[in-house]
């Protein structure tokens, strides 16, 4: 397991619901077939209203219209990230687009669980809402051992909550990998 996640940050506000993460009309594509799966990357976060997409400026698409992958590796947002539906397509779409971690001050529980159990993206919690400390496109670095996120562009570092109960599942890469390690399934 690598100790850091580095890349460009995409910044969002509060209550980003799953219809904003992947609008319902796109839930028809196969999650297995490569030629269809990539559309989850293209439409990831496409439901976010333009003014709130890529804060503080807004107007920045997570994935450019003609692309299937995003240039952003880490998402920083406010409270209640992933509220709304139980669609696992939401954390899946972030992963397909190329994101590896989300940092939010809180999560809706089904999104959090899906992100962990499916091994899609690591859902880190910040202690406070730190989204205003980041501008979309800033270079950031998450230290997985120290549980910190550093804004390389501004030089500021912020603590993250330890993953706690779910750390073993995150480490294993998902609930199936975890259950195999634990001898629950063969």
């Amino acid at each position: 397991m690598k100790e850091t996640i580095k890349g460009k940050v995409f910044v969002l506000g509060d209550d980003i619901d799953t219809d904003q993460i992947i609008p319902a009309e796109h839930l028809v594509y196969s999650l297995e077939k490569e030629d269809e799966k990539r559309y989850y990357g293209r439409y990831s976060l496409s439901g976010v209203p333009e003014a709130q997409s890529g804060l503080p400026m807004g107007g920045i698409p997570f994935t450019p219209q003609d692309k299937f992958e995003s240039e952003f590796t880490i998402i920083v947002a406010g409270k209640n990230f992933g509220c709304g539906s139980s669609r696992e397509h939401a954390p899946f779409s972030l992963q397909v687009a190329g994101a590896r971690a989300v940092v939010a001050s809180s999560y809706a529980r089904i999104f959090y669980r899906n992100a962990v159990d499916g091994g899609f993206v690591i859902p880190y919690e910040s202690f406070d809402d730190i989204s205003s400390e980041f501008s979309t496109h800033d270079e950031v670095e998450i230290d997985k051992e120290l549980n910190t996120i550093r804004n390389v562009t501004t030089g500021k570092t912020f603590p993250l909550r330890p993953l706690g109960d779910v750390a073993d599942i995150v480490e294993a890469g998902g609930i199936f990998e975890y259950a195999r390690k634990a001898g629950m399934i063969s």
């Binding site: 219809d19 439901g47 139980s86 999560y107 499916g118």
Partner: protein, 433 residues
């Protein structure tokens, strides 16, 4: 222990549990549908093998409901995948599209088919699975990976939630519906106000409701972030369930010394008709505050607002009136659709009341509640303002990102359809207090 804690303790084969405990529970029922079923099946086969059998075919319920009446080839392929899987696994509880068995919205069909049994554990690949808590069941939404894990093992880990209790004291006024109660609560606590927690509803205001009213409350706990919603079973519950299943179940109840996260008490007589303004279910206002707001469309449907009692309520107001805005009627299930053709008000069927008022009548399904493919019945395809009995109004929920949705009770939506702007049901109900 609370009712929720007791159900989870029993399902985990433990004497007791505390909020925050992680426990592995045995699953009584797993529910899935056409959007999340196919990927769940894909993960199941990948993880357990192409020839793997589900853990217990009597405990798996598959109800296609989301994208049914569409020309979208991918959506239709999803139904094919479900059909194929049901055949291969010889599943008794698959409700196929285009047959007499087709039901419509899963959360409304589950009680009809007797799967919402008090004291049991239900997981479903849909966030509104929490609806079944109205029957004293532990019921919550999960993702495809967790569902695939259950398909192979019959088990899932769950963190025991603390319980927030909401008590409604006294008789609910006749112009107030269950939707007004839950919009009030979500407005009070916020869209994450019950995150990771159980929401229990109690008091005579709640216990005097029929099962459909109670389902409207538990349906929307997810809009407060709740893990599950629950109501203690009583005779109303048992009569309903026993009329629909012979499968044995053992109800559970709160202990007298149960410990709650918090208790909120509401005086029922002070309740007001409520709306949630765009673009969040917690953006509350009383109808009085937003009266005469411009509207382009009214929509009555979904698991939370498309039950028989919702249509009877709306029909009371719409009967004999002309409507000022296009109004869409979508029964949650095929049974409700049939009942609308036999249930009458002053000799006119509910169905005819809507048809004669010029409503657009839809087939049983989720339809435009969640937008869906562009040819979905009732979908908001532009910058329209809609008042709806559904459960979410986040940006783009009912289709276009440019649209705006007000959530309200069937009474309020019907009155607004008649007036053409947001209207107070007290001005339109035939008998008011």
């Amino acid at each position: 222990m609370t009712l929720t804690e007791k159900i989870l303790a029993r399902a985990a084969k433990r004497k007791s549990v505390n909020p925050g405990d992680n426990v592995w529970v045995d699953v009584d029922i797993l529910l899935t549908h056409d959007v999340c079923g196919p990927p769940t099946i894909g993960i199941f086969k990948k993880q357990f093998g192409q020839d793997a059998k589900v853990w217990d075919k009597d405990k798996l319920v598959i109800i296609p409901d989301h994208y049914i009446f569409t020309a979208d080839k991918y959506a239709n392929r999803n139904i094919d995948i479900l059909r194929e899987f049901a055949k291969e696994q010889d599943l008794p509880h698959y409700y196929d599209v285009g047959t007499d068995r087709y039901k419509g919205v899963c959360h409304a069909a589950m009680p009809e088919e007797g799967f919402t049994r008090p004291g049991q554990v239900l997981f479903g690949t849909d966030s509104h699975t929490c609806t079944a808590g109205a029957f004293g069941q532990f019921a919550t939404g999960i993702g495809n990976t967790d569902a695939a894990f259950i398909l192979g093992t019959g088990k899932l880990w769950v963190k025991v939630p603390p319980t927030m209790k909401f008590i409604f004291e006294g008789e609910i006024p006749p112009y107030i519906m269950a939707k007004d109660l839950i919009l009030q609560i979500i407005g009070d606590i916020g869209v994450d106000g019950a995150n990771y927690r159980a929401m229990e509803f109690a008091g005579d205001g709640v216990m005097n409701m029929d099962m459909e009213g109670r389902m409207t409350l538990t349906n929307m706990v997810i809009e407060g972030g709740g893990k599950n919603g629950v109501i203690e079973p009583d005779q109303t519950t048992l009569d309903y369930v026993n009329a629909r299943t012979n499968t044995p179940f053992e109800p559970l109840f709160n202990d007298a010394d149960a410990v709650y996260h918090s208790v909120r008490v509401y005086d029922s007589k002070k309740l007001e008709p409520m709306v949630a303004k765009p673009h969040s279910p917690d953006n509350k206002a009383t109808v009085t505050e937003v009266k005469k707001t411009r509207l382009d469309r009214a929509y009555i449907g979904s698991c939370t607002g498309g039950k028989l009692s919702d249509f009877v309520a709306a029909a009371q107001i719409i009967k004999g009136n002309e409507l000022r805005i296009p109004t869409y009627i979508v029964p949650a299930t095929t049974l409700i659709r049939e009942q609308m053709k036999t249930e009458t008000i002053d000799g006119e069927t509910i169905w005819d009341i809507f048809v004669n008022a010029g409503c657009n009548m839809g087939e049983a399904s989720c339809a435009a509640c969640l937008g869906g493919p562009s040819d979905t019945f009732g979908r908001l395809n532009g910058a329209e303002v809609c008042i709806s009995t559904t459960n979410r109004n986040f940006p783009g929920r009912m289709g276009s990102k440019q649209s705006a949705v007000y959530l309200a009770s069937p009474y309020t939506v019907a009155a607004s359809a008649v007036q053409g702007t947001i209207a107070d049901p007290r001005d339109y109900l035939p008998v008011t207090v």
